[in-house]
Amino acid sequence: MAGFWSLILAGLCLTGPIHSGGSPLRWGCDQEGGAPYCFLDGKLELVGFEVDIVRELERKLGRKIRFTQYGFESLIPGLLKGDFDFAMNGLEVLPDRRQAIRFTRPYYLYRQQLTVRKGESRFSQYRELAGQTDKEVGTMDGTAAEALLIRDGVRHASYSTPTEAYRDLELGRLDAVLLDMPMARQYAAENPALAFLGEPFAPGRYAIAVPPSENALADAIDRSINEMIQDGSLREILTRWKIWDGFNESHLAGATSAADWEFEDKDAGSGWTVARYLPLLLDGARVTLLLTLASFALALCIGLGIAVARLYGPRPLQILAVGYIEFFRGVPLLLLLFFLYFGLPSVLAGIGLPAIGEWITPFAAAWLGLGLTYGAYEAEIQRSAIQSVPQGQWEAAAALGMPKGLTFRRIILPQAVRIALPPTTGDLVALFKDTSVASAITLLELNKQYQILAKSSLKFVEIGLITAILYLALSVPLGLASRALEKKLGANHGK
């Protein structure tokens, strides 16, 4: 028995993340839109200043390091889950994160840079954006910049990559972008349409994240970074990537003690109380509800139109209707939303209609995408409902001299609606849940708010439970209401 347990223990140790000296360390990082940190270059090779630092780290630690692709916004949960040994991807040292993970000493000091379109005259500094409902600032999921925008009450949209944020700024969908200097330099400095506004501010540090239990690994990395600072290899790498500046020179390279780089915006991010995040979740719930109702109304209209076209239209129209249904039932919703939000504006600009492209807000794209998709499902539900009204009803109405249009509107459709109600209710609940997909195009609906808040505060369980309660608080009344309607309409129904 004892032998059995020691075998298990030995197994655990061998597969444990750190203690096996021979196996390579796993490095969690997101290469998608990751320039200049870590990205694929034109030759499809992984490059970036963090890649260079990791190579140097390999030499100093004497261990192989293997790259593991991981979504940026999930890096910290992934680290805690044990999917890799350390995370290094421009991770900012934020007070809330420090409670959950161990950060090494910094390898770079960043500051926030506000970027605007060239010639911006409506505001001249970041401060003016606070509380402005008509100005929107783009940033990235789970960054210090996002936490700053939340704290300062600036209306914002969070993207999963910087590319899309700067592109939407250029397209006029955003009024500014607030992101760490390395990204601003990479994506905006050379763009003639964009300009930096004001001096960089709100300094912070990039450090490598290690699980809290892995002190030995953290200490080893600390020593290696120290060596890289002392032998100048870190400065050499960062200079090559054009992000070394006087600020790093004095506070990082010239650091005599930790106090030099321990500047923390004291009130940034910390103190995730219910009172602080609940209003944000409630606002997300409001957007989710609004999106559900608006896109369902659209789906019902499209569904009825397509169903009628398919049943009574001339042959070519019938074929188009079938094509519509098959197309929108087959295309993944996420893909459709990406196309509508990120792709359609450039298509519209290409055919000389850039003005329409500006109307495509995240909400509009989500509304359209959900409406088009669920319109296809609704079309099939309504078609079969219309067909299941007995043919005799048409004849009885005809015998009373009712024209076809009148018969359809006043005799067939009201009966079809009753038949279609139960499957339509199911559709509504499915649509309600699918609104969460809109978080992928930066819409601040409930799911997106949850992700932002949970990842910033690391209170996955607590905020998750509250979010779940909010979802239920919306979907349960929705279900009850439609069941009541079903009962009311169905009560007197029959031959």
């Binding site: 004849e395 015998a399 009373l400 001299g401 009712m402 005799i411 009201p414 009966q415 007197n492 031959k495």
Partner: protein, 257 residues
């Protein structure tokens, strides 16, 4: 008000069927039917199933397009093919139809079933249509049921609502397609009583029926249809009690047992 009671019905119209042919693919369902129906007569169409009775009836108000011959209903004439919509619409407002399976509108109340066509098709004021509908429901002994839904009625009650619904357009003719076949003997009686009552108003009634007893009692003329042709035509006494053709005797022997 009192003067409003009777004009629901304004006297029957004549129907003339000439060389009516109806095909279904290669099969001829009606093979040159000739029939004159006098205004105010009640005509019973009897005969074996598959003989073309229901098809003939449905040709009379354009529910079924036909392939040859013509049908005159009052002043309107139906020709082969899908016909002219205006002609058909006029006929449908002068000739009501009642179906074997009622086909009341389930989502409407009894009263709304009756007022639907006058209000929606003829543009009658809802208030006036309601008044008249209540009188018609009174006549079929269902005034107390005006706010019920069809699902809450018995078969006989449903069929009487269907009659009131047809009468609401002030028709001068009534087409009845086996209107008692789905009913049990007791409720059958309720419906037949209403039908006999209508006869007194001078309405022309064409009915497909298996009620030989009722046909004998109420019909002015009886037409026996077999294999898409008129096998025999005459008074009830002539056709039912003294059939001249072998086809007719065979059928009557079977149904009369």
């Amino acid at each position: 008000m009192a003067s409003d009671h009777k004009p629901a019905v304004t006297g029957g119209l004549g129907i003339r069927i000439s060389q009516l042919v109806k095909r279904h693919g290669d099969r001829e369902i009606l093979r040159g039917i000739r029939l004159d129906i006098q205004p105010g007569h009640t005509v019973a169409l009897i005969g074996p199933s598959g003989g073309g009775k229901t098809t003939l009836l449905r040709c009379l108000n354009g529910l079924e397009p036909f392939d040859g011959g013509s049908v005159d209903v009052g002043d309107n004439t139906l020709h082969p093919g899908n016909g002219r919509p205006r002609e058909i619409a006029r006929i449908r407002q002068t000739v009501g139809m009642i179906f074997q399976d009622f086909q009341l509108f389930p989502h409407l109340s009894v009263l709304e079933n009756v007022t639907a066509a006058p209000v929606w098709v003829q543009g009658e004021k809802p208030k006036v249509a309601r008044e008249r509908a209540l009188q018609l429901l009174e006549r079929v002994k269902l005034a107390d049921f005006s706010h019920r839904r069809p699902a809450q009625l018995s078969g006989g009650q449903k069929q009487r609502v269907a009659i009131a619904r047809a009468l609401a357009l002030r028709p001068r003719g009534l087409l009845c397609d086996e209107i008692t076949s789905a009913l049990d003997p007791e409720t059958k009686h309720e419906v037949l009583v209403v039908l006999e009552d209508l006869k007194r108003d001078g309405l022309t009634v064409v009915m497909v029926t298996h009620e030989i007893g009722f046909a004998r009692r109420a019909a002015d003329r009886v037409v026996l249809l077999a294999d898409g042709k008129v096998a025999e035509e005459g008074t009830a006494g002539e056709v039912i009690d003294a059939p001249k053709t072998e086809r007719a005797s065979r059928f009557l022997a079977r149904v009369l047992g």
